[in-house]
């Protein structure tokens, strides 16, 4: 008990590989992997069954714009790392600065995605068979919106969580010995980023 | 914790709301016609009558044989084979034509007949084949065969129902709004088919083989009368009747009219987002 009490809660410590919050987040991310792989699996099955329903890249989707969007998301991962590095060295100002940067980049990603959705919808590229009017077939639209949509939702949740983290950061809740919140936030954010890189490849490039 | 509270509340709401929805299951879209206040009844001294006949020229195609060997119970009821009833023609006349006042009654409202109309399933055939019913009037669907039938109505404006009758039994339903025509089918016996014409007023009839029909107790006025045949399409006539007077209407059908588009509701769209609402209303 005594040595347990002595330990600070959310920092790795001798004898322990990984602390609760972090382990919990890793475990949660595992299930997220399974969720996205079910969607991606469905996508692959359908696309192999009906290649004719898919149009060439760039005919329907705006690849350059999304490419830029992807770049921004990758940058946001970098800023997240910077934020984490900052707090590891107790640099509060750095933490806040980089968190804000990450929030901005994340929000921008969501914004551009929404803009893209609107454009696509005007083009007749919609989920569902009834109103589908773009190149390719209804499955194209359905799978596109399902996969990018659920990723978008994850990014949005991530941005909200980031804002929450930032607020705590501005309240000085994190220290060089207690940065669990920032670290698991980073884990989640990198995961979302990673998923997007996969989605971007299979949805936009192939 | 607060979140979970809300979740609870939401779920309870669900349960409550749906419970209300459930109560009404029995009477699909009932009441409607009944709760409008009834307009001035047609005074007998001014009541007029429209009679008429539906003539038919050319040779009527014979009813096509129905193979019921898969359903012995029904086959037995048709010792000399069953045939389809789409064209029931008499001597130069056409039966199974739905005739009704399409226009001219203005804003008048009429009491709903308390007499139920029966659609009987006997020998895997609907009796009658064409059925006229008022909004809100009870439709009693009867299963005289004692084998599984399901009554699958596919209206456009009304709330459809698809209910099964595993044993000899009766099911009562009503229709809320006028519609011409509502197809009825049985998914267990592909050949079974009937059509229901719904009007908010009582001025409608189905011609018998001799092609005649009679619309009684009409208020004096000018009316558009429409005749509907499932195969030969629709025709309209206008007739004016004075108080206590009577009018004659004659519809002319011929065999070569077959295949013309017959006005009928669009089918339920598979992905019609309204589908829930449509059903939900029924439960009111």
């Amino acid at each position: 008990m005594s040595h347990a009490a002595a330990m600070s809660a959310s920092r790795p410590m001798e004898g322990m590989k990984i602390y609760n919050l972090k382990l919990g987040m890793w475990v949660f991310l595992l299930s997220e992997v399974m969720f996205f792989s079910s969607l991606i699996g469905a996508y692959i099955i359908l696309r192999f069954a009906h290649p004719e329903q898919w149009a060439e890249p760039n005919t329907v989707l705006n690849v350059p714009l999304t490419g830029f969007n992807t770049f921004m998301l990758i940058c946001s991962s970098v800023t997240m790392v910077k934020a984490f590095a900052a707090i590891e060295h107790g640099d509060q100002a750095g933490l806040r600065k980089w968190l804000i940067a990450t929030i901005i980049l994340g929000a921008a990603f969501v914004g551009i995605q929404v803009y893209e959705y609107i454009k696509l919808a005007q083009h007749g590229f919609v989920p569902g068979a009834a109103a589908y009017a773009a190149e390719g077939g209804p499955l194209y639209g359905s799978t596109f919106y399902t996969m990018t949509g659920f990723h978008g939702a994850h990014v949005t949740i991530g941005v909200l969580a980031l804002i929450f983290t930032a607020v705590k950061a501005f309240r000085g809740k994190y220290t060089s010995t207690d940065y669990g919140g920032v670290e698991i936030m980073g884990l989640y954010w990198h995961f979302v980023d990673l998923v997007w890189i996969i989605l971007f490849t299979i949805v936009y490039l192939i | 914790m607060r979140r979970s509270l809300e979740a609870m509340a939401l779920a309870l709401l669900f349960a409550a709301a749906s419970a209300c929805g459930g109560g009404g299951d029995a009477d699909t879209g009932g009441e409607v016609a009944t709760d409008e206040e009834v307009g001035p009844a047609v005074s007998p001294d001014s009541a007029a009558t429209v009679t008429g006949v539906v003539n038919f020229t050319g040779t009527a195609p014979p009813g096509e044989p129905i193979d019921m060997s898969e359903e012995p119970t029904c086959a037995e009821k048709h010792p000399d084979g069953a045939t389809t009833e789409q064209v029931v023609a008499g001597d130069g006349t056409l039966g199974n034509v739905f005739v009704y006042v399409k226009d001219g009654l203005g804003s008048r409202t009429f009491p709903t007949s308390s007499e139920p109309v029966t659609l009987d399933q006997d020998g895997c055939v609907y009796h009658p084949h064409i059925l006229a019913i008022q909004t809100g009037q009870d439709l009693v669907v009867k299963n005289s065969d004692g084998i599984l039938h399901n009554i699958n109505t596919q209206p456009t404006v009304n709330q459809g129902f698809n209910v099964s009758q595993p044993v000899a039994m009766e099911t009562t339903r009503t229709f809320a709004s006028p519609e011409v025509m509502i197809p009825v089918k049985c998914d267990v016996h592909g050949w079974m088919e009937a059509f229901i014409g719904v009007q908010s007023h009582p001025y409608m009839a189905v011609t018998s083989t001799d092609g005649t029909f009679r619309l009684e107790n009409l208020p004096p006025g000018t009316y558009t009368i429409e005749a509907w045949h499932q195969r030969y399409g629709t025709q309209t006539q206008t007739v004016t009747v004075a108080a206590q007077g009577s009018g004659e209407v004659t519809f002319e059908y011929s065999a070569d009219m077959a295949g013309r588009p017959v006005p009928m509701g669009e089918p339920i769209d598979l992905h019609d987002h309204g589908s829930d609402q449509r059903v939900a209303h029924a439960g009111r």
Binding site: - | Q154, K185, D187, V188, G190, L270
Partner: protein, 266 residues
């Protein structure tokens, strides 16, 4: 009702082979079942608590563990190996179905089986094809190759005495083959929940002697009753459907629409 765990008499060529696998498994599992349950009861009696009794203090034996890991493994592998051949013979229609097999098309829909017979020329999609609803007629002693499809939901084509079962999946054409060995009257059942009429989605199966089958085909194939041809013919139903109930999105869309597909029936 059998309480003796015997299967009904098979009436198809591979039926008896399937049954032999079944009986093999029945014997193996039966022996294991008896041994285990008996051991259980014996232990319960023999080692029940009595005053002054103390249980043996042992944590197990690796040797035993290996034994009861390897033995079951070998047993199930034997069963799997023996099953494999019969399975492929019964299920892989092309390759295993004889070349002279008679082709029949079965289209399942809520809630009936529409069977398209090739007619006298024994070729599908020709003028003399004819459709029978809920009636499956087969020749004895000749392989039949069924092209199984579904118009709406998943059904399952189940011929108990023939040891034939295959789901009918919309959007797929699945080959099923078997060869009847005994003439007689049987039943075709739907084994996959398909809606409110699922339980009554049965059809009569008649296995004719071969010449009787020929005569049946010629008499049925001779007349082509409008009601029974597959393509929507001149029946009024088809007219008004074609005219009014096909949604703008086109044929393919309507084909999985009960509203209209019910009416495409002819």
């Amino acid at each position: 009702m059998n309480w003796n765990w015997l299967l009904p008499e098979p009436v198809s060529t591979f039926g008896s082979e399937i049954d032999s696998i079944y009986y093999l498994i029945l014997v193996i599992t039966g022996i294991i079942f008896v041994l285990v349950e008996v051991a259980l009861v014996v232990f319960m009696v023999k080692y029940r608590h009595r005053e002054g009794r103390r249980a043996e203090y042992s944590h197990g034996s690796t040797r035993l563990e290996l034994v009861w890991t390897v033995v079951p493994f070998v047993l199930v592998m034997v069963i799997a190996w023996m099953s494999m051949r019969v399975w492929l013979e019964a299920k892989v229609a092309d390759g295993h179905a004889p070349a002279d097999a008679l082709s029949i098309r079965v289209a399942a829909k809520q809630f009936e089986w529409n069977v398209t017979y090739p007619g006298p020329d024994e070729r599908l999609d020709t003028a003399d094809d004819f459709v029978k609803t809920n009636q499956l007629h087969l020749p004895v002693g000749r392989a039949v190759r069924i092209e199984l499809t579904s118009d709406d939901v998943i059904h399952s084509f189940f011929l108990p005495e023939f040891r034939v079962k295959q789901d009918a999946v919309p959007g797929m054409t699945i080959g099923v083959w078997f060869e009847a060995t005994t003439a007689g009257e049987y039943e075709l059942a739907c084994a996959e929940l398909c809606g409110l009429g699922h339980y009554s989605m049965n059809a009569s199966v008649t296995v004719h002697e071969s010449e009787a089958f020929q005569s049946w085909v010629s008499e049925e194939g001779g007349q082509t009753p409008a009601v029974e041809t597959p393509a929507p013919p001149d029946t009024s139903a088809a007219d008004l459907e074609a005219a009014s109930t096909t949604p703008p999105s086109g044929e393919d869309h309507s084909s999985h629409q009960p509203a209209s597909d019910g009416k495409e029936r002819a």
